[in-house]
Amino acid sequence: MRMPLRTFGRAFLPVALVGAAIIVVWYILAVRGNWAQVQQQNPTITGFWNTARATMQVDQPWVPTPHQVVQNLYQSLDRSPNDPRAIWVHLGTTGAEMGLGLLAGGVLGLLIATLFVHSRPMERAFLPWVVASQTVPVLALAPIVISIFGITLTGKVVVTSYLVFFAVAISAIKGLRSADPLAHELMRSYAANPWQIYWKLRFPAALPFVFTGLKIGATAALVGAIVAELFGSNYGLGQRIVFASYYTQTIVWWSTMLAASLLGLAAYSLLAGAERLIVRARPPQT
C-alpha cells in the first residue's frame, strides 16, 4: 500500500519527537547519575566534558545510557541460549507465558461473561468474587502459585491468565449487552433460539469490546509473567532481571526492561492487527 509522505510524517513525527525528548532526558539523567561514581573511581579525570564523557562509558553504571542499553540488547541477539545474557530464549519464554495466558484467560473471561449475561442470579452471586479476585496483588499471588505448581510453564500461565480473564470478562459483559434492544426484538420476531441470538447478535457485537479487554490483559499478562518468573524460573525476562541484579549488571537489567516493553508493544500490535482483520467493516471511529 502506498503511503503519502505527509500521512507518514503525520503519524511518525509526533512519536519520533517524543522519543527524542525521552532520549535527551535519559542522557542528562545518566550523566548526572554516574557523575559521583566516575569521580570516585577515576580521580584523574577533570573538567566538565571529560567527566561527562566518562559517565557514558562505565561498566556497571548506576544509570546506563541509551546507546549502552541498545548495544547490549543488540549483542544479546546472537548469544547462545545457555548464556543468561541471551535475549531470544527469554523473550520466547515470557512471550509464550503471555500468549498462553491470553488464550486461556480470554476463553475463561468470555465464558464467565456469557454465563453472567444469561443469568442475573449467577452474575449477582459471582461478580463480586471476580472483582475481589483482582484485589490480591500479583506480587503476593505469584509466589503462592509458583510454590503450588513449581518452576513450570503451568504456574506462569496460571498467573497470566488470572490477570487476563478479568479484563476480558469485564469488557465482554458490557459487549455482550451492547446490541441495540431493537436488534434483539428483531431476533425475537424471527423466533430465534438463544444459541442463534448469541452467535449472530451478541457475540459479533461484543467482539470490539473483547479485543479491548485482550489489549488491556496483554500488558497485565506481561507484568504478571515477569513477576512470576522472579520467584522461580529457568528462562524468561524475569529470570534475566534476577541474573542482572545478582551480578549488578545494570546494563543487562535495563536492556531487559527495553526488551519487555518491546514485547508488550509487539503483543499489543499483534492484537490490534488481529482486531482489524476480524472486526472489519465498522464505521470509522471518531
Binding site: 441495540d180 431493537l182 436488534a183 426484538e185 428483531l186 431476533m187 425475537r188 420476531s189 424471527y190 423466533a191 430465534a192 442463534q196 449472530k200 447478535l201 459479533p204 457485537a205 467482539l207 472486526v279 472489519r280 467493516a281 465498522r282 464505521p283
Partner: protein
C-alpha cells in the same frame, strides 16, 4: 370446521383484535397505553395506525407482533395466538431505525432471517439477489450499512423483512426519520411491493398524507388513554401513483383525518 347455522363472513379475519387493553406498570403509578381497542383486519389490507405520539399506535403494533402481551382482551392472528404466529414466522418487522447489523454487508443483512430459518446457502443467495434487484440495491450488495444513506438503509431493512415472505408486515414509522422526498419515493415503492406480494401491512405513522396515500383503511387513534377514535376507509382508486396526491378526494380524506384528530384535541 364451521358450525352449521352460524353466519360467518366468507374469510376469517387475518388479524382480530377484541377489547384489548394495555397497562404499563410503573413505579407507583401505571400508564394506560391502550384502552378497549377492537379492530378486524382482512388478509391483504393495508392498515395505517395514525395518531400523535402517546396514542398507543406503536404499542398496538407490538401487541400484534408479540413483542408485548396485552393486559386484557383477545388478539388472534390467522386464528392463532400472536406467539404462535410469531413462531410460525408470519411477521416481517420494520422499525423506525433500520437496525442493520453493522458487521454484516447488505447481502448478509438481508439473509439474516433466512440463516436463522435454516434456508440453504444457494437459495439464500438467490433470494437476497432477487430482493436487492427489486429494491434497486444491486450495486450495494457488498456495501456495509454505514456506507449507505438513511433511505438506503431503510430499503435494506424492508428487503430483510420481505426475505422470508411473511404474510404480515408490521411497520413502525419506517420512514419517520427520512426527508420528505425520500419518504414519498419509498411510499411508492412500498405500494408496489404490497401489490406484488399481496401481504397484509400494518403501518404506524404520524403523517396524515402518508397514511391516506398508502392505506385501504386509516385507524385514527387518540391519546390518554390510547384508543381508536375512528376507522376511515380510503376509497381512492388502485393502483395509486403520483397523480393520486393531486385528486380532490385525496384532500378530502386529509381534511377528514385532520378534523378527526383535532376534535379529540379540542376536548
Amino acid at each position: 370446521m364451521k358450525t352449521p347455522g352460524v353466519l360467518r363472513s366468507a374469510a376469517p379475519p387475518e388479524i382480530s383484535i377484541e377489547h384489548v387493553s394495555m397497562t404499563f406498570a410503573g413505579q407507583g403509578r401505571s400508564t394506560n397505553a391502550l384502552q378497549d381497542v377492537s379492530l378486524s383486519v382482512r388478509a391483504g389490507e393495508f392498515i395505517s395506525l395514525l395518531g400523535p405520539s402517546g396514542c398507543g399506535k406503536s404499542t398496538l403494533l407490538r401487541l400484534i407482533g408479540d413483542l408485548l402481551r396485552p393486559s386484557a382482551g383477545d388478539l388472534r392472528v390467522k386464528g392463532k395466538t400472536p406467539t404462535q404466529a410469531r413462531r410460525d414466522r408470519d411477521y416481517g418487522m420494520v422499525f423506525q431505525a433500520p437496525v442493520l447489523y453493522e458487521w454484516r454487508d447488505v447481502t448478509r443483512n438481508v439473509q439474516l432471517p433466512l440463516e436463522i430459518f435454516g434456508v440453504p446457502r444457494g437459495e439464500r443467495d438467490q433470494r437476497a439477489a432477487n430482493l436487492l434487484d427489486l429494491m434497486g440495491l444491486r450495486e450495494f450488495a457488498k456495501s456495509y450499512p454505514w456506507q449507505l444513506s438513511g433511505g438506503m438503509q431503510q430499503r435494506v431493512a424492508i428487503a430483510r423483512a420481505l426475505s422470508f415472505q411473511p404474510s404480515i408486515l408490521l411497520m413502525d414509522e419506517p420512514f419517520g426519520a427520512l426527508d420528505e422526498m425520500t419518504r414519498e419515493r419509498l411510499n411508492m415503492e412500498l405500494l408496489n411491493l404490497w401489490r406484488q406480494t399481496g401481504s397484509t401491512i400494518i403501518f404506524v405513522t404520524h403523517s396524515i398524507p402518508e397514511a391516506v396515500f398508502l392505506s385501504t383503511r386509516v385507524v385514527v387513534m387518540t391519546p390518554r388513554p390510547g384508543k381508536v377514535e375512528r376507522v376511515i376507509p380510503i376509497d381512492l382508486p388502485q393502483p395509486r401513483g403520483a397523480e393520486t396526491r393531486e385528486q380532490p378526494e385525496f384532500f378530502r380524506y386529509l381534511t377528514e383525518c385532520r378534523a378527526c384528530l383535532r376534535e379529540e384535541h379540542a376536548l
